[in-house]
């Protein structure tokens, strides 16, 4: 009576699971510990933001964009207001552009810090998580003193910025930039340099260049697969053509490179902010826009480089005060496609690590 029969184990991970960021759910088919198939299930955080936009005026929709990728809310504001400005043909003041760059890059640093932290946490590096979050607090403090909120910043308006940073903002920013090398060294020392962490991430979850391009992956995940594509360089928006910065690329295509490329990007962001501080002119921060925003009839698509990928807004205007249709192209939603393909054949814990390196924010995926 031999019963040496093996059976596939179907494991439901999420939406309530310690390592599922937000409300992600995946059904994992297991052969022992090896994953044979993954079915990602999304939609648990769906709030119908695109539909909500149709019943809000153009200005009223700005706070909702905060709730897409809530780890980098200035970027969402930015993408949206620039789309509307493009539709209306509004030129915004120089100072507002520079402030937008500063806030956008701060958001990029904050978002990457969260990414490093959560990847460390997903491979059980509790203390590394604490350090990155500790440093992110300082960025949130800067948001708070300028725009009045820490997470859903809501700092941009159609035509400019909501508020001029207060006097204490600039010294805080300078000291933060001065401390970033030390922070990065600490993250490296406790997380990236650790052989156990390297063992967990290196050569795991290989996404070749061709696959990444075919899946239209964007953002750091794409650049870790050796494709030098960044919207800021490829299709410069705002005033990014004035800054001297590099687009970091790594060729390892594995989880480790997808994680450590964020460290390189933080360094580049610091470079951009320093140039912005140097060049920022005095002047108004709001363009002359009418109180009631009524863009002309038409449609427009605009994209920016969100910390997690390419974020695009497509707006159709029927000439009224409310958009007729808003379509959001979130970066991580598209990037998430790679999970079932790349994670196949790895162990459960590697799948967790691969998912962490995607830096998925479910607010953006589910909209």
């Amino acid at each position: 009576m031999s019963i040496d029969k093996t059976e596939e184990l179907v494991l439901n991970m999420g939406p309530q699971h310690p390592s599922m960021h937000g409300l992600f759910r995946m059904i994992v088919h297991l052969e022992g510990e090896t994953v044979t198939e993954i079915e990602p299930k999304i939609g648990y955080l769906h709030r119908g933001i695109e539909k909500l936009a149709e019943s809000r005026t153009y200005t009223q929709f700005i706070p909702y964009t905060d709730r897409l990728d809530y780890l980098a809310s200035p970027h969402n504001n930015w993408a949206y207001v620039q789309t509307v400005e493009k539709l209306m043909g509004v030129e915004i003041p120089e100072r507002a552009e520079y402030l937008r760059v500063i806030f956008g890059e701060l958001a990029r640093i904050a978002s990457h810090q969260v990414m490093i932290a959560s990847t460390a946490l997903d491979i059980a590096g509790w203390t590394a998580w604490g350090y990155a979050f500790r440093d992110r607090e300082r960025i949130l403090d800067m948001y708070e003193m300028t725009a009045g909120s820490r997470l859903t910043v809501n700092c941009m308006r159609i035509g400019g910025m909501s508020a001029e940073p207060p006097a204490e903002f600039w010294p805080a920013l300078e000291s933060f930039l001065d401390d970033t090398p030390e922070m990065l060294e600490e993250y490296y020392g406790i997380f990236f340099g650790n052989e156990i962490a390297q063992g967990r991430l290196k050569n795991v979850g290989i996404m070749p260049k061709e696959l990444a391009e075919n899946l239209s992956i964007t953002g750091p995940v794409l650049r870790a697969s050796g494709v030098q594509y960044d919207v800021r360089k490829a299709y410069p928006y705002s005033i990014y053509d004035r800054f001297d910065f590099d687009v970091p690329v790594r060729y390892g295509c594995d989880s480790y490179d997808r994680t450590i490329i964020r460290m390189d990007e933080i360094k580049e962001s610091v470079k951009i902010i320093r140039q912005a501080i140097r060049d920022i002119p005095e002047g108004p921060i709001m363009a002359k826009v009418p109180k009631v925003i009524k863009p002309p009839v038409g449609e427009v698509y605009h994209r920016v480089e969100n910390p997690k990928g390419e974020l695009g807004f497509y707006i159709v205007s029927d000439g009224s005060t409310k958009p007729a249709r808003v379509r959001i192209r979130p970066g991580t939603f598209v990037n998430l496609q790679m999970l079932p393909i790349v994670a196949k054949g790895w162990k459960i814990q590697d799948v967790v690590a691969i998912f962490a390196t995607l830096d998925a924010v479910l607010g953006e995926v589910d909209k």
Binding site: L9, H17, L121, I123, A124, I196
Partner: protein
């Protein structure tokens, strides 16, 4: 000084002297019961202190204060947690194998009681002075694998099952280097008795003679008690809480007691075998013993709050391809050393 050193022996002697015949069956039975209670108290106290210390260390490493609400600097926090656990509902999952599910935490809790009973806490202070001390210790601690598997299987939960299977793979693998690392010491002392091993370290602790064995023992010991970076069994990011997922209330508390008891036991064995046990100048022996245990436990916590979790295949590679050959090499070198020593000393 001498009185303080032998404090517990004097107390034991006094209790025995209360009986008409100090060596009668009844006197022995009374002493056994007292010893049993002492071991249980050690485990409970260890758990109470260590859980708090763990949280404090976790806090300190990430620049926090840790628990600080209850009592002076939060030192009563674990007591409150224990009370909370007692008040919780005892849930048994509907599809669980009820007997196995309920026995598993009891086994986990009973193991450190059995292992800690043979540790010499001071000169002649082993609750049970067993001639095969190390042998018994390792044999008993190997049973914990079974308890984890029982918990994982009995819970009728896929995460628990995965955790239980991981426990079997991991703990059996690390049992072997753990055992081999201790063989060098046994070769030198020619004795399985823990008391004799401590006495043999009168001049020099064995960590000096057996540094490699000590490192292997610590690594394998951490893996044996399922602590980070080898906490794959209860890896919460992957298998939620492994075998403990379905447990609540006191049953879950028993797992915790068992975990910290096991950790104390493994540290106590390390202190006994490698760090000279209760041997030490100036202070009473039992103080030295607990200080050495404390240092090892602190090191384990420090490691836990620094390192991420190891990959499951690297875990196996480490055991079979690194630690096992090294421990065999250590045995070989020890034999060579003993041979040369005898040759030189003309023994």
């Amino acid at each position: 000084m001498q009185t303080l050193n032998n404090l517990f022996l004097i107390i034991a002697h006094f209790i025995r002297s209360l009986f008409a015949d100090p060596q009668s069956v009844w006197a022995n039975l009374t002493m056994d019961v007292i010893n049993f209670i002492i071991v249980v108290v050690i485990i409970v106290l260890a758990a109470l202190i260590l859980i708090l210390l763990e949280r404090k260390v976790a806090g300190w490493t990430s620049m926090r204060t840790g628990p600080n609400r209850l009592g002076p600097r939060g030192w009563f926090q674990t007591i409150a947690d224990a009370l909370k656990l007692m008040g919780k509902e005892d849930v048994t999952p509907a599809g669980a194998d009820k007997i196995i599910f309920k026995i598993a935490p009891m086994i986990i809790f009973s193991l450190p009681m059995m292992t800690l009973a043979v540790i010499p806490y001071g000169n002649h202070m082993a609750p049970i002075d067993l001639d095969l001390g190390i042998f018994y210790f390792l044999a008993v601690s190997a049973i914990s694998t079974l308890a984890f598997l029982m918990a994982g299987w009995g819970s009728n939960n896929k995460y628990s099952l995965l955790g239980g299977m991981r426990a079997v793979a991991q703990m059996i693998s690390y049992e072997i280097p753990l055992l081999f690392s201790l063989l060098g010491v046994i070769m030198i002392t020619q004795s399985f008795n823990l008391g004799d091993i401590v006495k043999a370290q009168h001049t020099i602790p064995f960590i000096v003679l057996q540094p490699l064995a000590f490192v292997i023992y610590i690594i394998a010991g951490i893996a044996e008690v399922n602590r980070a970076p080898f906490d794959l069994v209860e890896a919460d990011q992957e298998v939620v809480a492994g075998p403990f997922t379905e447990y609540t209330g006191l049953r879950w508390g028993l797992f915790f007691l068992g975990e910290y008891g096991n950790m104390t036991a493994v540290s106590a064995l390390a202190a006994t075998v490698f760090l000279g046990g209760w041997q030490g100048p100036f202070l009473p022996g039992w103080v030295w013993f607990w200080m050495k245990v404390g240092v090892i436990i602190f090191f384990m916590m420090w490691v836990r709050w620094t390192f991420p979790r190891i990959r499951v295949d690297h875990l196996m590679h480490l055991a079979w391809k690194v630690l096992l050959p090294l421990s065999i090499l250590n045995i070989f070198l020890t034999g060579l050393g003993i041979f040369i020593y005898r040759l030189v000393m003309g023994g």
